[in-house]
Every structure is written in C-alpha cells, then in structure tokens.
Symmetry: C2
Subunit: 335 residues, 2 copies
Amino acid sequence: MEDIARECGVTKMTVSRVLAGRDGVKQSTREKVMETATRLNYEINALAQSFSSNRSGFVGIATPFDGLLGSSYFKDAVNGFRRVLDDTVFSFSLFDTNSESFNDGEKLGKLYRQRRADALLLLAVHTSDRFLETLEQLRIPIVVVGERVDHPNVCSVSCRDRHGMHQVCDHLFKLGHHRIAFVEGPRDFSTASRRKEGFVQSCLEKGLEIPDSYFQQGHYNTRGGREAGRILLRQNPRPTAIIAANDAMAYGVYESAREIGLRIPQDISIVGFDNETAAADMFPPLTTVHQPVSEMGEEAARILLDAITNDSLPTGQKVLDVSLIIRESTAPPSA
Amino acid sequence: MEDIARECGVTKMTVSRVLAGRDGVKQSTREKVMETATRLNYEINALAQSFSSNRSGFVGIATPFDGLLGSSYFKDAVNGFRRVLDDTVFSFSLFDTNSESFNDGEKLGKLYRQRRADALLLLAVHTSDRFLETLEQLRIPIVVVGERVDHPNVCSVSCRDRHGMHQVCDHLFKLGHHRIAFVEGPRDFSTASRRKEGFVQSCLEKGLEIPDSYFQQGHYNTRGGREAGRILLRQNPRPTAIIAANDAMAYGVYESAREIGLRIPQDISIVGFDNETAAADMFPPLTTVHQPVSEMGEEAARILLDAITNDSLPTGQKVLDVSLIIRESTAPPSA
DNA sequence: TTGTAGGCGTTATCAG
DNA sequence: CTGATAACGCCTACAA
C-alpha cells in the first residue's frame, strides 16, 4: 500500500479506502489508485486484514457424524454454502468431525476463541449432542443444517421431513399397499423421529394398523438397512412395501430383497428418503423424497453471513419444502 | 499476555516465550506463567500470531474433479490428512473445486499470494490441467494425492495402479477366465492410463488377445460403467469377466448385468478398483483393489508439513502399495 | 534469564 | 476529500 501511495502521491490511508471500496474518495484519485494497484500486482495481505478487523474470514464446517464426509449429502450442502460464500471474502475451513472432543464443544469453542473461525456450520447434529450448550455460551454464530435443534441461540435450516413421509405414504396407499414396513433411523437424530412420526401419523389417518414387527431400526447406513430388511422380509405376512428413513438404508433393503430372490418392485416396493445422487443410479432407480440440501446450504450460508456482518446471533428455524420423486422401485402390490 | 505478565511481575515477552514453549526461561517463572494463563483463561489470538509469523496456518484442499467431494475417496484422504494435521497448529480450508477459474490456477494462486493458505493438497488432478504450471511459479508447496504428475516442483503421492491391475488379472487367470473385458477411465487421469496399461500388459504376457470391442470407456462414475457394461455384455462371444478401472464404474457394470438377468458371479465376474467403502456393501460384495487412500493422505500431509516448516518445496513421487481384495463378485467362468 | 524497542499491514478515528 | 496518528497482539533482535 505504501508503494501505491507513493506512486500516486497520496497516503496509504487513501489507498486503503479505495481498495476497500469505501466512498468519500475523489473519482480521479480512485482511478489512479486502482490503476497503480493493478500495475504493481498488489495483493492484499489477508493476514493483516484479519488481524486488523479481528475476523478470520473463515466459516468452520463440522459434524459429529462419521459417515457424512463421503456422502452426497455433504457434497450438496457444501456446494450450497459455496455458491453463497464464493461471492464474499469468506472461505471455509473443515474442522474435526467425529472426535471424542467434539461432543463437549471444547475443540470447536477453542477454534472460535482463538479466532480461527468467525462462525460455524454444523451438519448432522444429534439431539443428544451436548456441545451446543457449550458453544451457545460463547455467542458464536451457529447454523445447524439438516437437523432441527432446540436452543435459543442456535439457528437451524431443515426440511419438512414429516410432510415428505406423508407424501410417501399417500403414494403407497394409492398404489394399493396396506402392509407397509418402516426402517427407522437412529433415535438421536431429529430427522429420524420426524420421519417416523410422519409415517405413523399417515397410517393412523388411513386407519391402518402397523404391527410392531414392521418397525426396524438402522443407523442411517447400508448395513443397517440390509439387516432391517432381512428381518422385515421374514415377517408373516410379508410387507408389500418397505419405507426406509434414508436412501442409504433403502439400498440395504434392496440387497436384503435380492438375497432371497425378490424382484423390485414386482414383489416388494421400496422407498427411500433424501434423494442422494446414488438414488437415481440404483437398480431399479429409487423412489424417494428429495431434500433440497444445496438450497439448505445456501440458506444457511446466507443466515451466517448476515449474522457475521451484523455481529448478531442467528436464531430461528428455517424449514424448506421437500418433494416426492417417483422412480421405479414402487408399484402396486402383486395379487 | 499483558494481563498475565502483570500478574506474574514479568513482561509480555517472557509470557510469549513460555506460551510458545521456548526454552531459556526459569522453571519457576514458566510455571507461574502457565498457571496464571490457565487461571485467566488465556487463549492465544491466532490472527495476531498469523500476522506476525506471516503464516495462515491453513493447508488448502482443492480438486478440479466434481465428483470427488461426496466420495469415500475424499473422505479417506481427508481423514488421513487430519490424523497428521490434528497434532499440529494447522487446519485445513476447503477451496473451490471445479470452477472454471480453477484450471488456470488463478484462484488458487491468489489464495496463496494473499496468504490464506500456506500450502496446497490437490486431489484427482487431470494430466491436462494447466494450473500446476501457474502455481509452480509461485513456489507454493503442493502435494498431489492419487494422481501422478510430472512437474519438477510438485510432489505426488500415489499408488501402484499397474501392479494392482496385474494382481487382478492374475486372479482372473487363475479362475480360468480368458475373455476379459475392460472399462477404462477418462484419458486425462494418469491412474486411468496406468490401470489400463496394467491390464494390457498382463494379457500380453499371458498371450491373451483382447479384441478392441472388449474395451469401453467411462467417466469414473456409475453411469459410465452402466453404459460400458451394456455394450460389453452384448458382445459375441460375451466376456466371462469385466474389469472396471474403478469401483463406481464396477457398480454400473453390476446394473447392466442385472438388466439382462445375468447373475454375478455365476454368469459374469466383475472386478473394481479403489476399494471404496461401498464396495463391501455391494451385492454381491465386490472384488477390488485396495488403494491405501488414508495412508496416502497421511503421507501427503507429512510431506507438506515438512516443507512448510523448512520453507522448502516438496518434490518427488511417493508410491504406496496396493492389495487385491477378493470378495464374491468373481468366480470361475461357467462352462 | 529477562527486558526493551520496534515492526508486521491494515484500518479507525479524528483533524484539517 | 485526504492526511496524521495510533492501535491491533504477537514475535524477532538485541541489550542488559
């Protein structure tokens, strides 16, 4: 900046003003400074800027869920963040997921206290996680994506899980299914309980009795779906349709069906939830509920940016719509 | 630091020395400072530290390959990095993958010039990417993971792709296969060409003639594998085994086989490469080559840390071993 | 073993 | 509209 200032016959303060895009600088001065900056290949020193502004310019991304990093859910969410953050001076840093120190919030809190991150985007948070309480006290801007949380100073962006499940049930009812089994997710995810509620509620309204044995639980992963599927397909009478609380488990159910030679959807209809990238590539393509993950990511980033610039804490719950994607894994039950 | 210094009756310089773990401080002073720091809940200001040392403390992770972010390959590599970086003061930042500005290196270069990242870890780089040349001139420490690159000032950590493919071929030969088809990857990945070379070479040594029609290409994704599989399974005579250059494509080949009612492995043997998390969950579980991705990540992080601390540019190619994982997707050809 | 002085590059503030 | 001054919190270099 000194160099530019000298060349232009002004002080570095004026240069700073121009480069920061502030107004109150004569047009001719502004132009001369800009031109000189370009000519000298000036690049701002982000470190000095951060130091001066007391802002790192980083949004931390973290999750306690081990399976997230390699999932298309993660990809979509991050791409959503990026679409918003790319237009700003913020970048993101990827912080420790899934370590024992995550749960008490100590490590994440430290990052903030040491100013390594200005705000946090949290993914796939369990209702049982205690770290939010710790973080809340630090007054860090936090947005939780996907799950809904119940903390006064934490904001969440999620989707209408219950409604999505209603749509699934309606679809199956219309096809004529009455014996519908359900693979639920881990109890400590709020999405899992809302999806189950949606199913139970729909069946109730329809006057459908679902036996306890038609409910199995999995850890939102393929293996869990496979094991649940094996049990469910052994029931007598066998269900004509199985709803899995997410796509990964639906894939496991596919496998369990194949193991005993059942055809999808002729012998058994299967539905998932999430509309991960892989859902369309499954054989047959999976009927599922589309969660607007990248839009959720965008929204979360916008809320966070807003909070950072206004020095406020984001609050409230933003809930986005979902939509049923009918593919080829569902059909009327065979007579 | 001022506060601690005052409490302890020393200057902040002494405090700085203690907190930085330097020696040349009396033991009793050291203890008093440490104790006071803890009592006052002192946290170092990473921003000031970065500013002073002219180091951001961030390693940037980037890739031009769109499909990477949601893949288990990415997960494994990042977990490898983390195992190493977690013991240090470095964190990582996730930078823009797959934008048009990636390819000329402009955006990544800017990050470095502005000191937002001290080094770069690049994943899934194409041989055709031009950005490495740009970055090289900036003398940024760079390590490429997975692909092998040919730049004097860029280091790469990869695995023995060719050897892995030899193992696959040996396995299939032993089972009695002679009609083996190959789904190759995109020409601009060095892994893709080395894997193909491995296959061609093994067949040559075995004296096996592979017709041109037994070679198909896909984009390292499921769809590509499915389309290639459809074509290959239509050949006359039909191959008894298909090798896909990565697991995602192998999955696509599974689907193409199912579409026409072929059983795996009874009617067709299928092999992949990478040993992604999903490979073990496929139905039937996929025979594939295990790439030690997380070890590659660890190694890359170590090389980078070393370069940062020594202010040098990492060079050379580190190549790790692979191993054949025999599961249930391969069997002797049916008579 | 400890202290003093000064600088890193940016921006806030207030004066001109 | 522009300039002078100081401050941010840490660390290096040198002096005591």
